[in-house]
């Protein structure tokens, strides 16, 4: 379990994290979402005791990170897969980290096998692709078999195969009863992996919800109606207090009345309906609605 309480982190005049509170529970993959610069990485660094909070607290398994003995047995983290000494081999890299927490050679070999790096175990890291470095970073995170795992943008720069591997891996870890927190700036990515979402923008909490709830709460759902007597039907729907927006191809976008009600209404008046399609927004759209206000830098619309 990860508990962040009233966390504030300032760097000079810049406030990176601004009164953030949330709890990450075991058994789920929790997505940590926000635009670039929202404060995700800073929050993770504070949780790991790397950055000192200006105020507030971050606790892991009910303890502050700095007080943990052999912390790799409690928390595994992948912050930056490229943070390696290029001249070291994969085995030496893993072994040096394992030794600092009293973890043996056998576990190092096991992690190399698990992440598919056995064949390159004795190659220097400068020759590793980003995908291989990500795998090595995951091997480091899993060294101590920890109940809590944190991954910062783990799919950045990965190919399709690598992304699928990481997704499946994270879900398996959560199914194991572990606490898994994964940050991303891409909603579409989280939609496929996370069942809970913590959305932040400009260092503040925007939403702490499930993926399903986020979709429902969006204001963008509507019903697409097609009918040979569209104009007539539109008037009837409007009379019921709903909003109708004609689409370019003659369809009607209806909000405020659900599909069964529209169907019944049309039947009452003997109007044929050719299509009646409830449409939900993509998670991407729901996410943009949430974070639209809180993006630091936005491209102007041309």
């Amino acid at each position: 379990m990860i508990e962040v309480d009233q966390l504030v982190k300032r760097f000079g005049v810049v406030t990176a994290v601004d009164g953030l509170s949330f709890t990450v529970r075991p058994g789920h993959v929790t997505g940590f979402l926000g635009p670039n610069g929202a404060g995700k990485t800073t929050t993770m660094r504070v949780i790991l005791g790397l950055d000192a909070p200006t105020s507030g607290t971050a606790r892991v398994n009910e303890k502050s990170y700095a007080g943990l003995i052999r912390p790799l047995h409690q928390v595994g983290a992948l912050l930056d897969a490229s943070a390696l000494h290029p001249g070291r081999t994969a085995t030496a890299h893993l072994a040096s980290i394992a030794q600092s927490n009293g973890i043996g050679r056998g576990r190092v070999a096991e992690m190399l096998r698990l992440t598919g790096l056995e064949a390159v175990a004795n190659r220097r890291l400068k020759g590793f692709s980003l995908g291989m470095k990500q795998r090595l970073g995951i091997a480091v995170a899993l060294l101590g078999d920890p109940p809590v795992l944190m991954f910062d943008e783990p799919v950045n720069g990965l190919d399709t195969e690598g992304i699928a591997w990481i997704r499946q891996f994270m879900r398996a870890l959560a199914a194991d009863g572990r606490t898994v927190l994964v940050s991303s700036h891409l909603m579409s990515e989280m939609a496929q992996t996370a069942d809970r979402l913590i959305v932040i923008g400009r260092g503040r909490l925007i939403a702490d919800t499930t993926t399903a709830q986020l979709l429902e709460s969006s204001t963008r759902s509507d019903v697409l109606v097609r009918s040979p007597r569209a104009a007539e039907l539109a008037d009837l729907i409007k009379a019921r207090g709903a909003t109708v927006k004609p689409e370019e191809d003659g369809g009607l976008a209806v909000t405020g009345l659900d599909a069964p009600a529209i169907g019944d209404l049309a039947a009452e008046h003997g109007i044929a309906v050719h299509a009646l399609i409830p449409r939900s927004p993509s998670l991407e759209e729901a996410y943009l609605d949430l974070t639209g206000e809180s993006t630091d830098f936005r491209a102007a619309t041309p």
């Binding site: 660094r45 790991l48 005791g49 790397l50 950055d51 000192a52 990170y65 700095a66 007080g67 943990l68 003995i69 052999r70 912390p71 790799l72 047995h73 928390v75 983290a77 912050l79 930056d80 490229s82 943070a83 390696l84 000494h85 290029p86 001249g87 070291r88 081999t89 030496a92 890299h93 072994a95 040096s96 980290i97 030794q99 600092s100 927490n101 009293g102 480091v140």
Partner: protein, 259 residues
Amino acid sequence: MTAPVPLAVRARDVLTSEWTKLRSVRSTYWTLLVAVATPIGISALVAVVLSHAPGKQTPVDPLLPGLISQEYAVLAVGVLGVLAFSTEYGTGLIRTTFAAVPRRRAVLAAKAAVIGALTLVAGEVVAFASFALVQAVLSGKHLGVSLSHPGVPGAVLAGGLLLFVVATMGVGLGSIVRHTAGGIAALVGLIFLPAILGVLPAPWGARIARFTLLDAARQVTALHPATDLFAPAASLLVMLAWPALTLLAAAFLITRRDA
């Protein structure tokens, strides 16, 4: 809950980890090779020059050529020391290190210990090898001193500390400056800049020089120490104070800054 881990076990874990890091990169071997080969090579050169020198022309002090040759290794071991932290800060690996060992001073102590041990051995090898080379030539001219001469073993041993002193100072500076080039610049500044002030007119030159690292090292090594500087015992303290103060400053800062 896991059983509490004794402090000694945790200390051994961090030392083992840092030792693995040190011996798994090539820069360690290169800098050590330079640090050992250069002074021994220079001592051999000095021996050759001395053996061809006419008559009774001798160095001022029979033990100084050995130490001066070590001064050529100062930069190499200094780089070795600085790199211990600066490469980790440069790559971001330091965050993995500190996440694995949140007690940052333990990491500082372990890095200083493994690099200190390695450069201590290297320094003593160089000191005794240089001594042997130079004295072999000087004794042919009946000008040398033997290891059995009173004060000589201690002087050679103390001179061999120079590389250890510089390397551990480098560890501290790497941790403070967090940048390879900056750390090396700071090290060069601390070692060589004060020495320039030694040329000031008497008595100021010597008053400053006795606190400089290189003059202190010469005092502890010389068979006939200079009279206007600190005595060898006090000079040894000056020599050890440089890395001690650097590491203290590093220990103070390491827990107060974000990684």
